[in-house]
């Protein structure tokens, strides 16, 4: 088998195992959480008969291993079942909100890269300068500030005081401009911490690469600094940042929940959060499954991108 194919199939197998492990762990956790899902869902007006009936409809009367097997069976057939409360297919519920979370994540990570990488490059190419010190203070401040605090401040400044940007929702369907405008504050509030991380990481890795012998050689050949930094050094210095981005996308997918709640946006985070509060486990499982899938796929892509960034990391024939 071609080394790349072998590498890829190995990674895919690991990915599948991670997904199975995560979902099994989640199932086990549902045992530890107190609260009868049926009575929580039906609320104080529910009769014992209605609670028992709902518990049966949710499959809560079956043993855990049976429910787990049933869930994997549903996943395998692409049918995650029907939500007992709304009567809607769970897969539809998840797929309806998934684009909002993915868009928010991409916007946030994109913004973090667009700001963080140049900030890190500037700091690395001007070490010890006033700009470097300012960038350091800004980066650490961004990292230290909790996202929800940033979100509230952004809302106060841009929505209330300046009245520039709206507070609620994801925008009118079909109105791209409205959707973009309503994406600004949530994505900035999510991105700010990552700007700091990426800037600090970029600075340190670029400084390290700029001290490598091949860079000194390039300078000795009289190649302009700008070309050395952006053509030769940046690509190698980017590897740790790309690795962090892979984790970042995963964390943002799961962590977008606070932005979704504060900005009242639909998304996987709010779907899962609401489902946890009501112990609606089938929806929780479906939501978490999708997040886990996206997380492991992103990391798979990141792993594969190492090879593109650094030929030394490409799978070789005869090398395990």
């Amino acid at each position: 088998m071609h080394p790349t194919l072998r590498y890829l199939s190995g990674r895919l197998l690991t990915t599948a195992l991670v997904v199975v492990g995560a979902v099994t762990l989640l199932f086990a956790l549902t045992l530890l959480v107190p609260g009868n899902p049926a009575s929580v869902l039906l609320g104080p007006r529910a009769t014992p008969e209605a609670v028992a009936a709902l518990a049966e409809r949710m499959g809560l009367d079956r043993p855990l291993h049976e429910r787990l097997l049933m869930f994997f069976g549903q996943v395998a057939t692409g049918n995650l079942g029907t939500d007992v409360i709304s009567g809607r297919p769970i897969l539809t519920m998840v797929m309806e909100v998934l684009p909002f979370t993915v868009t928010l994540t991409i916007a946030a990570i994109g913004l973090a890269v667009l700001v963080g990488v140049p900030l890190g490059c500037y700091a690395a190419t001007n070490p010890g300068s006033r700009g470097d010190r300012v960038a350091a203070v800004l980066s650490v401040s961004f990292i230290a500030m909790p996202n929800f605090v940033v979100a509230i401040f952004l809302l106060l400044i841009f929505s209330i005081w300046l009245d520039w940007l709206p507070v609620l929702g994801a925008g009118e369907p079909g109105d791209v401009l409205d959707q973009l405008v309503r994406l600004i504050l949530p994505s900035v509030s999510l991105a700010l911490g990552w700007v700091g991380y990426i800037a600090r990481l970029m600075r340190s890795s670029l400084l390290e690469v700029l001290g490598e012998p091949y860079i000194r050689t390039a300078r000795a050949f009289g190649i302009p600094d700008r070309k050395i930094v952006y053509k030769y050094a940046l690509k190698n210095a980017a590897i740790p940042t790309v690795a962090i981005l892979g984790l970042g996308v995963g964390r943002l997918l799961g962590g977008a929940i606070f932005a979704e709640i504060i900005f009242a946006r639909p998304g996987i985070g709010t779907l899962v959060y609401d489902a946890i509060l009501t112990r609606n486990y089938p929806v929780v499982q479906a939501g978490v499954l999708v997040v886990v899938l996206l997380f492991v796929l992103t990391n798979l892509l990141v792993d594969l991108s190492y090879a593109w960034l650094d030929p030394r990391l490409r799978p070789q024939k005869g090398v395990a």
Partner: protein, 517 residues
């Protein structure tokens, strides 16, 4: 590194940033733009619009705007008036006759509302659902025997037993919603998220977790609706709702009582504060030692200064409750005793009960700020009489299951809050013996209370009913298992041009009766 900034690059960057900054202008304040659209916050998204299986008041508010009932509440009160019914009469304790107004059409081309639809709408509560299980609100029509259709627009509701509460709890509420038999048969399971009614608003659009749109029914023959469109926006976080209101994206929202003063300063805003009929109390598990000793329960009641607890928890925004049924409702016990704090008396009772040295106990409560503050105050007050109280703060999912089944035997004290309805039969139903292990977390069983409850539920005479409910509250008071805190207050922020219609329980909004003041 050669890094230079030319005048051109600086100007270009500035133009981009300026453009980006200017871009959003005009996107806020949409709620101000046209008065024919009203934007209202709902605290969560709708889940099931089938009247028999609605989840809570969120769905109920939508159902009542879209579906007519035989009778409906007048704006902001629990007084009813005919709605779809031209006439409706209680002929005998178990017989109600009605005549529908002619020409009331269902939305979506499902034809005219007839007595057959009334029969279908009510009798389905007593029949099992498609999966053979009972409907969630089946109990609302427990007394129903059958609906007899006597003509296209006339019929009779036969009851198995007298049920005066259906005039306030069932007929004018979600369980009295008149649905189209034809639509239910055509839509099947889709009735959970499609609503066909004959009311003043149509269920026009639902984007899950984004918005629900109600549009004025063009075929509506009643008074013209004040708004062509009512948009309901699910906003969970109260602070976000407050900011969205301030930015003009919402016209009406429930707010925290503690935020009322700040919101009143917002331009074009009126803050509406109305006493509620809900009830918050500290319950004591009478089965578990040492609380099985009435002297211990009485000592705890004497040790707690209710005024101090609610002042701290609600910032002085609510009044004190003296009994279960709130003022203004039938069965309110106006002369209920106001228990004053008496530390010496509490210590003496504990000593008499053999607990002079105090003991450890647990207070289970929901993780809402008001209850947590109340818990801390109660903890401090009980410490003075030697009771070492631990707080068990739980999220909604865990809390609302804490008293279920055998788990409830482990409860000591708990802070609970139940919503109220217009009839005391609703408020008192949770405290009967058969509710032990369900919602009677005090596990207090009193055969006389149960007897009075059954008698009151089937008594037609209002004065007699009131007397029975007061007797029941006296028994609760004698048990010392209930320390009533407050009936709460409902606070809303509303545009000054809006005249909302809110039923006294504060949860039930009458969208069809919202007007432009």
């Amino acid at each position: 590194m050669d890094t230079t900034y030319s005048r051109r690059s600086v100007l270009r960057t500035g133009a981009i940033l300026g453009g980006a900054a200017a871009l959003p202008f005009g996107f806020t304040g949409q709620a101000f733009a046209a008065r024919d659209r009203l934007t209202v916050r709902v605290v969560r998204d709708i889940q099931n619009l089938d009247p028999a299986n609605r989840v809570s008041f969120i769905e109920g508010n939508v159902i009542r705007a879209v579906c007519q009932r035989l009778i409906s509440f007048k704006p902001g009160t629990f007084e009813w008036e005919p709605d779809a019914a031209k006439t409706i009469t209680q002929v005998s304790p178990t017989l109600i006759e009605f005549e529908l107004k002619p020409g009331q059409m269902f939305h979506g081309g499902y034809g005219e509302l007839t007595a057959e639809d009334v029969k279908f709408s009510f009798e389905r509560f007593r029949q099992p659902g498609p999966d053979g299980k009972p409907h969630q609100y089946a109990k609302d029509w427990e007394a129903l025997d059958r609906v007899e259709v006597t003509g296209t627009h006339t019929g009779r509701i036969h009851l198995k037993t007298p049920a005066p509460a259906i005039w306030l709890v069932t007929l004018p509420d979600g369980s009295g919603a008149l649905v189209s038999k034809k639509a239910f048969e055509a839509l099947g399971d889709k009735v959970k998220n499609t609503l066909i009614g004959s009311g003043p608003y149509t269920f026009a659009e639902w984007q899950p977790n984004q918005r629900i749109v109600l549009k004025a029914n063009p075929d509506w023959k009643g008074p013209k609706m004040a708004f062509n469109e009512i948009v309901l926006r699910p906003v969970q976080d109260p602070k976000t709702a407050e900011l969205a209101y301030r930015s003009g994206e919402l016209d009406f929202t429930v707010i925290e009582p503690t935020g009322a003063k700040d919101m009143a300063r917002v331009a074009n805003t009126k803050v509406i504060s109305q006493d509620s009929i809900n009830f918050v109390w500290i319950g004591i598990n009478v089965e578990k030692p040492p609380f099985d000793n009435p002297k211990v329960r009485e000592a705890i009641r004497k040790a707690i200064d209710v005024d101090q607890v609610i002042l701290a928890a609600y910032n002085g925004a609510v009044g004190r409750a003296k009994a279960l049924v709130a003022p203004g409702l039938l069965g309110h016990w106006a002369d209920a005793p106001v228990h004053k704090r008496d530390v010496a008396g509490a210590k003496a009772l504990l000593a008499e009960a053999g607990h002079g040295g105090g003991f450890k106990a647990k207070l289970t409560l929901l993780n809402r700020p008001a209850y947590q503050t109340a818990g801390v105050v109660v903890q401090a007050l009980l410490a003075e009489v030697g009771i070492d109280l631990q707080l068990e703060v739980l999220d909604g999912g865990s809390f609302w299951s804490a008293g279920n089944g055998d788990a409830g035997k482990n409860l000591d004290l708990s802070i609970q809050r139940f919503g109220g309805k217009a009839d005391p039969a609703f408020q008192t139903q949770w405290f009967v013996s058969e509710q032990v292990g369900v919602w009677n977390w005090q596990r207090w069983k009193n055969p006389e209370f149960d007897r009075l409850y059954a008698a009151a539920a089937s008594t037609i005479d209002s004065n007699e009913r009131a007397r029975l409910y007061i007797e029941m509250q006296k028994l609760m008071d004698q048990s010392a298992a209930y320390i009533w805190l407050t009936h709460e207050v409902n606070v809303f922020a509303s545009r000054s041009w809006l005249k909302p219609a809110i039923l006294p329980n504060g949860d039930d909004l009458q969208f069809d009766k919202f007007t432009d003041a």
